[in-house]
Each structure stands twice: as structure tokens, then as C-alpha cells.
């Protein structure tokens, strides 16, 4: 009697796993579909290792911001200031490099100067995040308002510090974080290690369901594809490396740790979470600070990629990040969503941008098409989830 019951639970669990993953894999299929269509339309240019390497690098910044934004949205908040913070942090790094002469340092001093600039940019981001978090958690002002204010403040500060103009050139060692590559050999080793690690982790489970095999298989496929891409051009771009690290951390934190549970609970029902002993204020504060830090780091990466800090950089980055999160299936109400979805969402948007540029669609039309696709994606997702919840 008993064993049949557990057998049944396991069976329903497995079935549940399949239906759940169909939902998760759907966005994967959407991404693959977009890639196939774009490859055909561009006669394969899209699918070349060179283009795909560039694509991943373009996606990185939005991807990193989207990971942070996922956590913010999961606790039922929003951060509109990330774009401006990216600009402010970039400008601060630029001012240090150019106006304070760090870019002139040579030898290993140059690397110290660059690391210092990057840390300073991140620090500026943390400062903005602390300010947001402090006002939101301690003074209970709506995050929309606070971060809207911060969006304008940070933009203003960026313009002030940069005197309204671009700051350039930056040192080569600093630019490495935006433009550099890991050598193809190192990239191969790293990607293979990581890929096989994920595959093994999927297969090491005590109770293996179909889901685990599917995850292992897809991890294998992604690894293979990544190897082909990065081998075929110049290796793994540094921004992509940073993105991957934060992506992995984000996924693990949300899925596997206490913190992930707490975040979901806070977003689902803050009162119940609080009553259950979850330190909601501390966690919210930490999350706003973290996204600030990520935005600061992205500021450094962006100015390094452009070899110059623009006070007008990062416009609408917050909306791209929110779009990636939403396309990835995270609910704006809070409590429901995944980091993996947001990463896919970022790739989805990135692939569209890249493909349309390859097809010589002018930027004005790109915007319209992108907007329509965001609306369609979310509408489709809502339709699917409402029909699945109604059954």
C-alpha cells in the first residue's frame, strides 16, 4: 500500500516535471526558432562563429542587468535606475582613467589602475543601490518612485562629472574587460569543464526523472554549440565570461539556496514571509544593493567596450532588462519566475537586435518590431499559463 503511494507521487512528480519543463523549454524553442529564421534570412551570416561571438558580447550587459532585475522583480520591486547608473559608473571609471591619469600608468601598474577603476565603478553602483535600498526598505517609499528619482539623479551626475562630453581614450588593460578574449584554448577548457560539470550534476541526482535527462542533454548541446562558436572565432569574450559567472550564480541562488526560497516567499506574500521569520528588509536591501553593483560593473564593461565613457550611455537599459525578465516568464507581481528564463529572454532580444541589423533594418523600424515582439511574447506566455492553470 505504502510503496504504491510513493510510487504514485513519484509518477505525478515526474509528470509534473515534464509539463513544467515544457513551459521552460518553450522559450528555448522560441529562441532556436528565431535563430533558424535569422540564419536563413541572412544566408548563414547570422550563424557564423564571428557573428555569434559578437552577439553574445552584445547580450552580456543586458543579460547581467536582467539577472539582477529578476531578483528585484521577484521580490515585487522594480529598478528603473540601472541605465543611468551604468552611465554614471562608466563616467566615474572614465574620469579616474583620463582626468586622474590612471590610463597613463604602465606595466603591472596599469593592471592595478584598471582593477581600481573597475572597482570604483562597481562601488559607485553599490552606492546608488544602497541609496535606493535604504529609502525603499527603511522609509517604505514605492520602488518605482525612488528608482525613477535615482534614474534622473544618476544621469545628471554622469553629465556633471563628464562635463557633458565623452571621456576617452581609456587604457588597453582597462578595455580588456569590455573587448578582451580568453584564448581559444583556455575557453575550450573552461567551457568543457563547466559543461561537463552541469551534465554530471544533472545525472548525479538520486531520483532521476526525464527532466534531469533532458537538462543534461540540453546542457550538452549548449556546451557543444558554445565550443563551436568560441573555437571558431577568437575565444570567449570577457563580458560573456562575467555574464556566465553571474548567470550561474543567479540560477544556483534562486533554485538551490535558502535565500532563493526567501526571495520567492517575499515576492509571493511579504506578510506571510515575515511571519515565518524571513528577514525581509535585509534581503530587499541586499537585492537593491546587488543590482546597483551589477549596474556599476556593467558601466565599466560598457565604457571599456566603447573605449570611452559616455554620460549618455545606457539609455533604456532598464527597459531592456525588464523586457528580458518579462519575456523570460517572470511575473511582475512577484514571487514567480526564474533566472534561466531571464537569460533566455536577454538572448532572445539580443538575437533580434543582431539579426535585424544584419538584415539592414533601420533602427527606427527595429524599435517598432522589438516592441511588438515583446508584447506578443508576453501575451502568448500569459495565454499559455492561464490555460495551463485552468486546465
Amino acid at each position: 500500500m505504502n510503496s504504491t503511494t510513493t510510487e504514485n507521487t513519484r509518477l505525478t512528480l515526474a509528470m509534473n516535471g515534464i509539463s513544467f519543463n515544457w513551459r521552460a523549454y518553450r522559450s528555448v524553442f522560441a529562441l532556436i526558432a528565431v535563430m533558424v529564421v535569422l540564419s536563413v534570412m541572412t544566408d548563414g551570416t547570422f550563424l557564423s562563429p564571428r557573428n555569434l561571438t559578437n552577439l553574445t558580447r552584445q547580450v552580456s550587459i543586458n543579460g547581467i542587468l536582467a539577472i539582477g532585475m529578476t531578483f528585484v522583480i521577484l521580490i515585487g520591486g522594480i529598478d528603473l535606475s540601472v541605465g543611468s547608473v551604468v552611465a554614471l559608473a562608466g563616467v566615474v571609471a572614465g574620469v579616474l582613467q583620463v582626468n586622474f591619469g590612471l590610463a597613463q600608468w604602465t606595466g603591472y601598474h596599469a593592471w592595478i589602475a584598471s582593477v581600481f577603476s573597475i572597482l570604483a565603478a562597481t562601488g559607485v553602483g553599490i552606492g546608488c543601490g544602497l541609496f535606493n535600498g535604504w529609502l525603499i526598505t527603511r522609509h517604505r517609499i514605492a520602488p518605482f518612485i525612488i528608482t525613477l528619482g535615482m534614474m534622473v539623479i544618476a544621469r545628471g551626475l554622469a553629465l556633471i562629472f563628464a562635463n557633458g562630453a565623452a571621456i576617452a581614450p581609456l587604457s588597453d588593460s582597462f578595455n580588456f574587460i569590455g573587448q578582451g578574449y580568453l584564448s581559444p584554448f583556455v575557453s575550450t577548457v573552461l567551457v568543457s569543464l563547466l559543461g561537463s560539470g552541469v551534465v554530471v550534476a544533472c545525472l548525479l541526482k538520486k531520483q532521476r526523472t526525464l527532466t534531469h535527462y533532458l537538462s543534461a542533454l540540453s546542457a550538452l548541446a549548449v556546451t557543444g554549440f558554445a565550443l563551436w562558436v568560441f573555437q571558431g572565432y577568437r575565444g570567449l569574450p570577457i563580458p560573456v565570461l562575467v555574464f556566465s559567472v553571474f548567470g550561474l550564480l543567479g540560477v544556483l541562488i534562486l533554485q538551490r539556496t535558502r535565500l532563493g526560497r526567501f526571495i520567492l516567499a517575499i515576492g509571493g506574500n511579504p506578510e506571510a514571509a515575515w511571519l515565518a521569520g524571513v528577514p525581509i528588509r535585509k534581503i530587499s536591501f541586499g537585492i537593491y544593493t546587488t543590482i546597483g553593483a551589477l549596474a556599476g560593473l556593467c558601466g565599466a564593461i560598457l565604457s571599456a567596450r566603447l573605449n570611452g565613457a559616455l554620460p549618455t550611455a545606457g539609455e533604456l537599459f532598464e527597459l531592456d532588462a525588464i523586457a528580458a525578465v518579462v519575456i523570460g516568464g517572470t511575473s511582475l507581481v512577484g514571487g514567480i519566475g526564474t533566472v534561466r528564463g531571464s537569460i533566455l529572454g536577454a538572448f532572445f532580444i539580443g538575437a533580434l537586435n543582431n539579426g535585424m541589423s544584419l538584415l539592414d533594418v533601420t533602427e527606427f523600424y527595429q524599435k517598432v518590431i522589438k516592441g511588438l515582439i515583446i508584447i506578443f511574447a508576453v501575451w502568448f506566455d500569459m495565454r499559455q499559463s492561464s490555460s495551463s492553470s485552468r486546465r
Binding site: 512528480l13 509534473n16 516567499a265 506578510e271 528577514p279 525581509i280 534581503i283 514567480i336 486546465r391
Partner: protein, 525 residues
């Protein structure tokens, strides 16, 4: 006959919610629909009111047609179709818009795009006068009491010429006065030939109101009884055991299990507990009481007398770093096992081995959009009690196997009916949701358990199970404080009862020596 449901079945994935249920409603009668939570009442009513459209279930629904003058098979694609067919639902949680007037509510689905207010008020007021509910067309609904809002819903149903009115737990939020008025209204609807389906948990109501009773259990017709035999009322003593046995599937000789007899040492002492609201209003003042191991202490009192506030003050809910608390002032001391303890936040309270099953399941008890598993382990996970994670830092990995094991144990212990541990909490019936809340706190193996209305809105069977658990926990040496507005429950479960009035204790009784009248007098005086 106004309505006939024949052999309706509906499944949610593997769960059969309704299994060939049949039910007839005649003109001029009150049909009481009884059943435990999860018995299928709500699903059946959702089908009737068009929430689950025709085609998502099997079986037939026929409704009396005012033109053909006979029962016609109907297709209900949505709630609008149901209105048109003459079926109206008076909801448990009133679905009214606070900022609109009564007149707008009456014409909500047919408001012209350009509103001529004077004509709208005139036409609706004429109708309202004919009902004699004492409603004014131009009143904003937010200015009405709960009972008043309910009258608006009834008026709206009648304005749409509803033939069958479904009342879902209509008295759960009403004052005594409003309840009486509602009964009068129902009696009048009956005399006007409407058919009424009355869903309730309270057997008292059933014997006062119903002409006929139908009981559902596990999605099936479990029994049907007539309130009258040969023109005379059937005595309650005859009907009640029958109804209860149909509802729970077994006869209950005694709803309240015997009280725990073994009491231990003093566990908690509360000294001079007071709570001031941010506006300086005294919510609770100067409470002093003790609790022994194995003791069940009852908190009685009217709504707003300070029962929940007492718990919230003791459990640290109103601390400034919480979502609600800001500017509350709490004074007083809590002594546990002879030591003074600070319980200024729930985190500290849980560390002091307290647990709090709050009154509002959906508002503060559960994260309803999340799984049974996530809900059940949240307090243990937060306090690190059960070793559900490898270490207690934020980024400690969860031990998934261990967690699953614990959740399954408690689902079995409390007999929680669910498809699997990852089922979302909002898909559960009220009784099962309550059990999840209780389980999540018992998992933390508390010394002190606060229960606020632990059996509100759940069925007899689940109630009995919860009473048994309360006695069992007491016998294991846990001290329990239980607040309830149901006096029989306080008298049947507790050892001692403290009655609150306007935030102060007005009396203390030994439960075996007190009567409902004693408590009532102390509560209201």
C-alpha cells in the same frame, strides 16, 4: 422546478472534483448545500454561475425558461450567460467596487456609454424602493457595511431578474442584526417564488432556514433530507447526526475529544502587555497571564476586542522592520521558562520556540502562489531548525531530499489531501490550506503555539482532526493559546478561558464551569 443539474462530473487533471452530481431546485424553496471543504460545492457552483464553461465538464444543466415555461437545456459559456439564464451568485467575498454608487452596481453590465445620472438614479431608486432594503441609489458602496454590500449584491441579482440565487456562506462576515435582516430577505425571496441555494458550514443556519438539504462528499451526492415531514418540521436531533455522518462519511459521537489531563510546569508568563497603535489608540492594555505546559488557554471576546492583536504583540509581528508595523508601541514582558525573552520580531519569537497560526490564511498564513513544499518548510528554513539546508547562511544549499522527506511526513501526519508536494497552495481546499499552515509551524517543534481562529471556514471533519491535534500537542507538553469567536469551541477545547473586552481582560473562567452566556456577558457587558 427552476433548475435541474443532472449527472455533472468534472476533473482537474487526475483529481475528480465532481462525480455524477445531481441536484434540483424548486420554486419557493431554500435548498441547503452542505459538505466539507473540497467536497465539490464550490466547483458545482462555479459551473452553475458560468465560471467553468459548458464543455469543461460532463453532464447536463437545465434551467426554467420564462418564455417556453419549461426546463430548457442551457449552454453557459461565461458568467454573463448564467445571468441571462437567471442564475445569480451572491459571493462570499463580495465582488463590489467601492468607489461606485449602488445605482452603477445595479446596471454594471449595461451602463450606457454616456451616463445620465438623474435618470439612472431615478430608475434604480424606484426598483430599490420596491425591494425595501433601505438602500439609496446614490450611496457609494464603500460607505456601506458588509451587510449593506451584500444587500447590493442581492439587489443586483434581482434587478437582473434572477430566478435562482446562490448564497455562498453569506453570514460569515455579518453582525447578528444583519444576519436577521438577511433571513427576512431570504424568506421574502422564497415567498416570491425564487429558488435559493444556500451554502454553509453552520448547521444552526441550516435548521432555521432550509426546506431541503443536500450533502456532497468527495464530489458525489452523499445524501438528501427534507426539513418537513407531513407538514411538520423534522426535529433537529434527528437530522443533525444524519447530516454530519453524510458530510464526514462516519458518525461523530463527540466533536470535541477529551481534554489533555497532564499539565506541567509554568511555561510562559506575560506581564503588563500593552499595545498602542501608530495613532496612539490602545489596542491591548495591561494583560497579565500565565501558561503551563500542556495547558490550552482560550482567548474569547468580540471582534476587535484585541485577540489577534495580543498574538501579534507577543509574536513581534508589528515590529517596524515588518511589512505592516510602523509606529506601534509594545510594552510589557514575556517570561519563558523563568527567563525574560525578547520577542520583538517573528525571527526572535521563533527562536524562542513560539509558533503562530494566524487568523488570515491567505493574507498572512500562506504564500498562496507557491507550493505546499515551499510553504511548509518556510519557518523551519528561516530559523534553520530542522537542518533543511547545509548551514544557515543565506546561500546555504537546501537539502532537497531531506526537505521532501519532512514535507511528506507532515502531509501524512495531518492527512493533507493534495496531488503532490509541489501543488500550489491556492489549489487546496480551505481545510487543507489550514493544515498546511499548522504543519509548517509544527515542523519547527514549538513549545508555545498560538492559534487564532484555527477552524474558521473549514468543515466539520477537518475541525475534529484539528481538535484532536490540539489535545495531542498539549499532551506532549506544548502550551497552547487559542483565540476563537466560536464559544462552543472555546468551551469544548480549552482548560481556561480569558475574555477580552476593549483590549483588557474582563473575566477568567474554567472551561468546565462556564457557559456561553457567561462568556458573552463578559465580552459585551
Amino acid at each position: 422546478m427552476l433548475l435541474s443539474i443532472q449527472g455533472v462530473s468534472k476533473s482537474f487533471s487526475a483529481n475528480k472534483a465532481l462525480d455524477r452530481v445531481s441536484l434540483d431546485v424548486y420554486s419557493g424553496e431554500v435548498l441547503a448545500l452542505l459538505g466539507e471543504n473540497g467536497a465539490g460545492k464550490s466547483t458545482l457552483m462555479k459551473i452553475l454561475s458560468g465560471v467553468w464553461p459548458t464543455g469543461t465538464y460532463e453532464g447536463e444543466i437545465k434551467i426554467y425558461h420564462s418564455e417556453t415555461l419549461r426546463l430548457e437545456h442551457v449552454t453557459l459559456k461565461d458568467t454573463r450567460d448564467a445571468h441571462q439564464a437567471g442564475v445569480a451568485m451572491i459571493h462570499q467575498e463580495l465582488s463590489v467596487f467601492p468607489e461606485l454608487t449602488v445605482a452603477e452596481h445595479l446596471e454594471l453590465d449595461r451602463l450606457p456609454s454616456w451616463i445620465q445620472w438623474d435618470k439612472l438614479f431615478l430608475r434604480t431608486q424606484t426598483f430599490l424602493d420596491s425591494l425595501d432594503f433601505g438602500l439609496r441609489a446614490e450611496t457609494l458602496v464603500k460607505d456601506l457595511s458588509v451587510g449593506g454590500k451584500q444587500l447590493v449584491e442581492i439587489a443586483r441579482a434581482l434587478y437582473r431578474k434572477a430566478q435562482v440565487l446562490i448564497f455562498d456562506e453569506p453570514t460569515s462576515a455579518l453582525t447578528d442584526h444583519e444576519v436577521n435582516r438577511l433571513y427576512t430577505v431570504i424568506a421574502r425571496l422564497k415567498s416570491e417564488g425564487k429558488g435559493i441555494i444556500y451554502i454553509t458550514h453552520r448547521l444552526d443556519e441550516v435548521f432555521g432556514l432550509a426546506d431541503r438539504m443536500i450533502v456532497l462528499r468527495d464530489g458525489r451526492n452523499a445524501g438528501e433530507a427534507n426539513a418537513y415531514r407531513d407538514g411538520k418540521k423534522v426535529p433537529r436531533a434527528e437530522l443533525e447526526p444524519m447530516l454530519i455522518s453524510w458530510m464526514v462519511g462516519r458518525s461523530i459521537s463527540d466533536i470535541f475529544p477529551p481534554r489533555n489531563q497532564s499539565m506541567g510546569a509554568e511555561l510562559m508568563k506575560v506581564k503588563n502587555l500593552s499595545l498602542l497603535s501608530p495613532k496612539g489608540k490602545s489596542l491591548v492594555s495591561d494583560l497579565n497571564f500565565t501558561l503551563r505546559r500542556g495547558e490550552i488557554l482560550g482567548l474569547g471576546g468580540l471582534l476587535g476586542a484585541g485577540r489577534s492583536e495580543t498574538f501579534e504583540a507577543l509574536f513581534g509581528v508589528l515590529n517596524g522592520s515588518g511589512p505592516r508595523g510602523r509606529g506601534y508601541r509594545i510594552t510589557g514582558e514575556v517570561w519563558l521558562d523563568g527567563q525574560m525573552r525578547q520577542t520583538e520580531t517573528p525571527i526572535a519569537a521563533i527562536a524562542a520556540k513560539m509558533a503562530y497560526v494566524s487568523e488570515d490564511r491567505k493574507g498572512t498564513g500562506l504564500v498562496v502562489n507557491q507550493s505546499i513544499r515551499n510553504n511548509m518548510t518556510l519557518p523551519s528554513m528561516a530559523s534553520g531548525i530542522l537542518g533543511l539546508s547545509q548551514g544557515n547562511s543565506f546561500i546555504s544549499p537546501i537539502r532537497q531530499d531531506r526537505e521532501l522527506e519532512e514535507v511528506q511526513v507532515w502531509m501524512k501526519n495531518l492527512r493533507i489531501k493534495a496531488a503532490h508536494v509541489d501543488q500550489s497552495a491556492h489549489e487546496l481546499s480551505g481545510g487543507n490550506q489550514q493544515k498546511v499552515v499548522i504543519a509548517k509551524w509544527l515542523m519547527t517543534s514549538p513549545d508555545i503555539l498560538f492559534l487564532d481562529e484555527p477552524t474558521r471556514g473549514i468543515d466539520v471533519g477537518a475541525k475534529v482532526e484539528i481538535y484532536q491535534w490540539i489535545q495531542r500537542l498539549a499532551s506532549e507538553g506544548i502550551g497552547i493559546v487559542m483565540a476563537s469567536s466560536e464559544m462552543p469551541e472555546l468551551l469544548g477545547v480549552c482548560h481556561r478561558i480569558l475574555v477580552l473586552r476593549e483590549g483588557r481582560f474582563s473575566a477568567e473562567f474554567r472551561a468546565d464551569q462556564a457557559t456561553q452566556e457567561d462568556i458573552m456577558r463578559a465580552a459585551s457587558l
